[in-house]
Amino acid sequence: MTLSPLNILLFGVVLLLAVGFYGLLITRNLIKIVLVLQILVKAAMLALVLAGKASGNLGLGQSVAATVIVADTIVAVVALALAVQVRRRTGTLDVAKISTLRG
């Protein structure tokens, strides 16, 4: 496997994905979950740009990635706002504890 720019980028995508999934597996803090979800989305964005470059359609890949940035920012803002509300109402950010508070 040669170290062409595309391969380096691909390596980056896999690395970011691995970090994200690992984070999701071990994290129980709500804010940290939002953070690792952001990392996962960044991996997806990078993959979009990469796919655009590889298929000779870089403009398309970049524009889709830009759209994802906008949507993803909104998701992050709403999720963090929810996390603040959850902390205020239940006194905890631990997802395992929150999920037992059904009702």
Binding site: F21, L24, L25, I26, V95, S99
Partner: protein, 582 residues
Amino acid sequence: MTGILVGLVIGIPWLGAVVLWQTRDEHPRLQHGLAVGFSILAGLASLALIPFSSAATVINLPMGRFFGNLTFIADGLAVTLSAIACVIGSLAVIFSVDYMRGEEQLNRYYAFVLLFIGAMAGLVLSGNLLFMFLFWEITALCSYALISFYNDDPRAVAGGIKALIITQVGGVGLLAGALTTYATLGSYQVSDLLSKAETMPTGILGLVAFGFLLAAAAKSAQFPFHTWLPDAMEAPTPISALIHAATMVNAGVYLLARFYPAFEHVPGWTLSVTLVGLISALITAFMALIATDLKRALAYSTVSQLGYMVYAIGVGGVFASQFHLLSHAVFKALLFLAAGAVIHTAGTRDMRRMGALGKQMPFVCNVFILGALALAGLPILNGFWSKELILESGLSEGPWWAYAGMVLVAGMTAFYTFRMTWLVFFGEARESLHVHDAGNAMKISLGLLALGTLTTWLLVTPFNSLLQSTLPFHAIQSLNLSELAVEIFTAPATYAALAMIAAGLGIFWMVRKQASGRSAAWMDALSRESFGFDWLNQRISNWTLGLGSVLQKTQTGILSWNVVGILGALLMILIFLVWSVR
């Protein structure tokens, strides 16, 4: 002109459904009036369509690449069935004016009745398999909504859901057949399937043929799907008449008749159709022998008569089956509506509590006897001609054992029909029920249907030439009234069947005391469980629920487990990709 009429036949009832849906319970007269008006207009439009029938496509709307063109073909088969749906449907609506008087939510009732009639007309007129499937599902939806009309009665709701689920199984068969046709021929047009069936590979054509057989059996409540129709009896009685005579169950027989030329050379198909018809006719006639619920006994007789039609298609008598469909639609609507008049005033459906009602309601008694004679197949009522025609084509084309079975069913039919009539209208009064004769609106529809029962067999000549001239693929033999009479009265099959019917009557007369009340325990148990098919239905639904509750455990709602699932799926995809690339 033909195009406009086709549009009217489907459009008027649907427009009526939309209008009726908007009406309020405060104006029941308006609701009844609008429903009767729209349904009669639809009936007139469907009758006006008959002279314009031809094999040509009358409406052709491009619908894009994926659906094919939306076409309507008003050939003989289609105009007859749409006329049956609209005319008998309108008679059921007229009957409802008396039957449903004082009920609440009539807007829902009439809107679904009209939607049902329009969908049935669309189903038979449609020349595009995908849109046929669409109309097919709309009729299933309407039957569900109307069977469960009394939605505070759990049995009505259960009956409706059962009908919906079982006919959905058939719908899957129709959809699979339609999609397979498209994948092979690149077209959804019915005419393409009929004309190019020989070019399809045998296996593919067999898939389509048996898919359509599955659909027809589920819709027409044939073996092994015969369990839903008796449970559909919780519906208001005009709805039962509508489902049994005008719409719903005819769709299955129509489907088989429509595609018979394409499938007749598929190995095993005609034999399967014959067997389905024979088994359904036999076991439901048996269940009708001991039913104590008036509407259930009629429901079993419907399945049994539909078995005759399916059997006729299996032995190649497409015309005989359609002729019996016409006769059956008329006399079964008559029987159901007369039974509805009895139930409406007696307040019970249990025949053991009735008896000697004939003196108190002479009009209903007389028309019921007419319908019963036609159902039993006695001359000269319409049921006699069409049933003998079926038996004759069965004798000349089909296997002898199937013929023997069907003749036996004719005898059983005579037995249970006369048992029914005897229990309700004659004998001694087992309970003092205060009943009165039918109202005026009921009398209009009952009178017209009784007239039809006496006379529709006279239509055999125009009906035959209509089908013959507009169905290019079906190879229907010409037959006119005098030929029919000669053929029927000189055939030994007729006398065999008549002897069997007489035997059924004689046996009934001898055992009429025992037959009225209790029956042997094993017969009771067999028929209550629909020969074990209710048990099978229950098992299948229990298995499905059990599988669901097992799989439910995998839905923990814990984030970490979900991530493990995602990673596992990714890993499997990766392994598959690596393995397939190599």
